[in-house]
């Protein structure tokens, strides 16, 4: 028998006239890594704050680890970890002092446990490093350590990798997967679509509504209805101007050094080629592509 770790029914939060979270429903199973995506201001952080019992729902219910998130928020908070976008780490304390301080907040005074947490996030040997001298990637590990010091069963990560370089991001995700293997359930928000691809399931929010929550491959299959073409034009701007006007083209977006063009199913690439040539845009190549989560995100978020 596996009981859902998070169960949300019709969860709603209003601020005055503004509906920040609008009747959302979802469940998360034990050990899952679930990505929670959406444009800035779409309601992701408000959802997490309600799941943490920091904010009272205007309507609906949130059940976390078998407790009512708001009415039993103490039970919830002692069992979940939370790493927020802007986490307060004391710059003038060392790594160990920060961790010890936050451990104390949770009533953890066991030195061995604090050492174990340092080891887990790869900060062993940096106990006495002053926090202000840490790079963004290392601060983020410390913030994760702080969220983990009470050994939570469920972890909320709110844009944990924002402002962190690509190598540190990868190392961070390796850590997340190590945690998931020990049975910790993880709900993570991110603006990096490659990170979202690592999640078992991904939810996408817009304007307070949860538009979809499914595996990355199902999302791509169900949300991207047509064909994907990778169009290399010289310069890019030419393609950006011409392609959206072509009949059968659903959307054009920048992707690396080329343009991703989503068309109605069955549209021949010659149609694109002709249209570009007619406007004297230089075409280097047009290659059939595969849908990505970024395509899904852009389709849903517009």
């Amino acid at each position: 028998m596996s009981e859902a770790v998070i169960k949300v029914e019709n969860l709603t939060r209003r601020f005055g006239d503004f509906v920040a979270v609008d009747h959302i429903n979802f469940e998360v199973q034990p050990g899952e890594v679930v990505g929670y995506l959406g444009p800035n201001g779409s309601g992701k952080t408000t959802t997490i704050r309600m799941l943490l019992g920091l904010l009272e729902p205007s309507e609906g219910e949130a059940n976390v680890l078998g407790f009512d998130a708001f009415k039993q928020s103490e039970q919830v908070r002692s069992r979940v970890g939370y790493m927020s976008q802007k986490f307060a780490i004391y710059d003038d304390l060392t790594v160990l002092e920060n961790l010890t301080f936050y451990g104390g907040v949770y009533g953890i005074n066991d030195k061995a446990r604090i050492k174990r947490t340092l080891e887990l996030v790869g900060l062993s040997g940096h106990d006495s490093t002053l926090t202000q001298t840490l790079s963004a990637g290392w601060r983020q590990r410390l913030a994760l350590g702080i969220a983990l010091v009470h050994e939570p069963k469920l972890l909320f990560l709110d844009e944990p990798t924002s402002g962190v370089d690509p190598t540190a991001r990868r190392a961070f995700w390796d850590l997340i997967y190590q945690l998931a293997e020990t049975g910790v359930t993880i709900l993570v928000t991110t603006h990096y679509m490659d990170e979202a691809e690592y999640c078992e399931r991904v939810g996408i929010m817009r304007d307070g509504k949860l538009l979809a929550m499914d595996t990355p491959s199902n999302l791509k299959k169900n949300i991207i209805p047509g064909d994907v073409w990778e169009v290399y034009t010289e310069p890019l701007q030419g393609g950006l101007e011409v392609l959206p006007e072509v009949e059968g083209v659903l959307r054009v977006s920048l992707a690396g050094d080329h343009l991703r063009t989503i068309t109605e199913k069955g549209l021949k690439k010659e149609v694109l080629l002709e249209a570009l040539k007619a406007k004297s845009v230089n075409v280097r190549d047009i290659i059939a592509g595969e849908a990505t989560l970024e395509d899904v995100f852009i389709s849903l978020a517009r």
Partner: protein, 340 residues
């Protein structure tokens, strides 16, 4: 001005205490060029940009902007560029228009100069309908655009953007980049000057490798130095034939087995697949033996093939520790927590 070089920096260095944040950096950016600055946190990207705009004074080296020496002709040099810092701050209780006015006046513009171009700029960034809205009520994406509009108010020929898209959702990133590309191409005509000489130049730092790959040239920074600088396609060519893409399941078996192969240098997850970097000339061998090794331990291989490297493959390779040692020998800092 020769060859339309709009930014020219030579031998810039800057230390903070013991740390050499920027170490002998030289770069040149041409008219109409988008130059991407990438590298690990603490590599020196932000400090470099601050030296280029004169927000920090270099210990040594020169900066020349549109032909004006930043040390000797400060005001003229500064009037040539727009700068969007990592933490762009705006006055949340002022309207969009009032914010722009503030930035224009700080830059010494009179209202008969900034007001007419302001509407044009707001239209360009798509904020014309919101000019009376309080900045604090703008969405994240609109704040971003207001930042760009403020940087454009002097009609700069050069734009310096420090991680403008960090913490920004994919849709907003799309819109922002479409604006940048428009600015550097002829469609941005009128918003900025310098079109006659080939368009605005942009230097931008970013943690997103897909953004770096749409720059004309990319400089990779490490320990205060630019260790490599080239076009994205030349950079990618450095690893041509050495990146294999593997799809199958379960991922941890695939990863583990690939790692164990003697010719495999690195294994990284790229979405739902793995990129495997192999030694020079070893691709065929690995392609040949890896699938049976994986099946031998109960894994499934759906596809294994040589792919064109992407810029992120290059970033990972350049960030790897053996290169860190090299730059340490050149006088940079090494490993461990880096100071920012």
């Amino acid at each position: 001005m020769m060859n339309n070089i709009l930014i020219s920096a030579s031998a810039l260095s800057k230390s903070f205490g013991e740390t050499r944040a920027v170490d002998n950096v030289s770069l040149q950016i041409h008219a109409g060029e988008i130059y991407g600055l990438v590298g690990a946190d603490g590599a020196g990207k932000t400090t470099t940009l601050r030296l280029l705009v004169g927000a920090l004074k270099a210990d040594s080296g020169d900066v020349n902007i549109c032909g004006y020496d930043l040390n000797k002709q400060v005001e003229t040099a500064r009037s040539q560029f727009g700068y969007l810092s990592q933490r762009f701050s705006m006055y949340e209780d002022l309207s969009v228009l009032e914010n722009i006015r503030f930035f224009a006046e700080v830059r010494g513009l009179r209202s008969n100069e900034w007001l007419p171009r302001c509407n044009e700029i707001l239209e360009f960034v798509g904020l014309e309908k919101f000019k009376d809205r309080r900045a604090g009520l703008l969405s994240g994406g609109m704040k971003q655009k207001l930042g760009l509009a403020s940087a454009l108010v002097t009609r700069p020929r050069v734009l310096l953007l420090d991680e403008p898209t960090t913490g920004v959702d994919p849709v907003t990133r799309q819109d922002f980049w479409q604006l940048i590309i428009k600015l550097t191409s002829l469609s941005g005509k009128g918003i900025s000057e310098g079109q006659g000489e080939g368009g605005v130049s942009v230097i931008i730092s970013t943690p997103y490798m897909d953004e770096a790959s749409r720059c004309h040239r990319v400089g990779f920074m490490k320990a205060g130095r630019i260790i490599t600088e080239d076009t994205p396609s030349n950079l990618r060519a450095q690893l041509a034939g050495r990146i294999l893409e593997l799809r199958g399941s379960p991922l941890h078996i695939l990863r583990h087995t690939a790692h164990a192969d003697k010719d495999v240098e690195d294994v990284q997850a790229f979405g739902d697949r793995l990129h495997i970097r192999v030694g020079q000339g070893k691709a065929e061998d690995v392609l040949h033996r890896l699938p049976s090794q994986i099946r031998g331990v109960g894994g499934q291989v759906d596809e294994l093939r040589v792919v064109n490297p992407v810029l992120e493959d290059i970033f990972i390779e350049l960030s790897s520790p053996h290169l860190a040692l090299q730059s340490a020998q050149n006088g940079g800092t090494t490993g461990g927590p880096e100071s920012k």
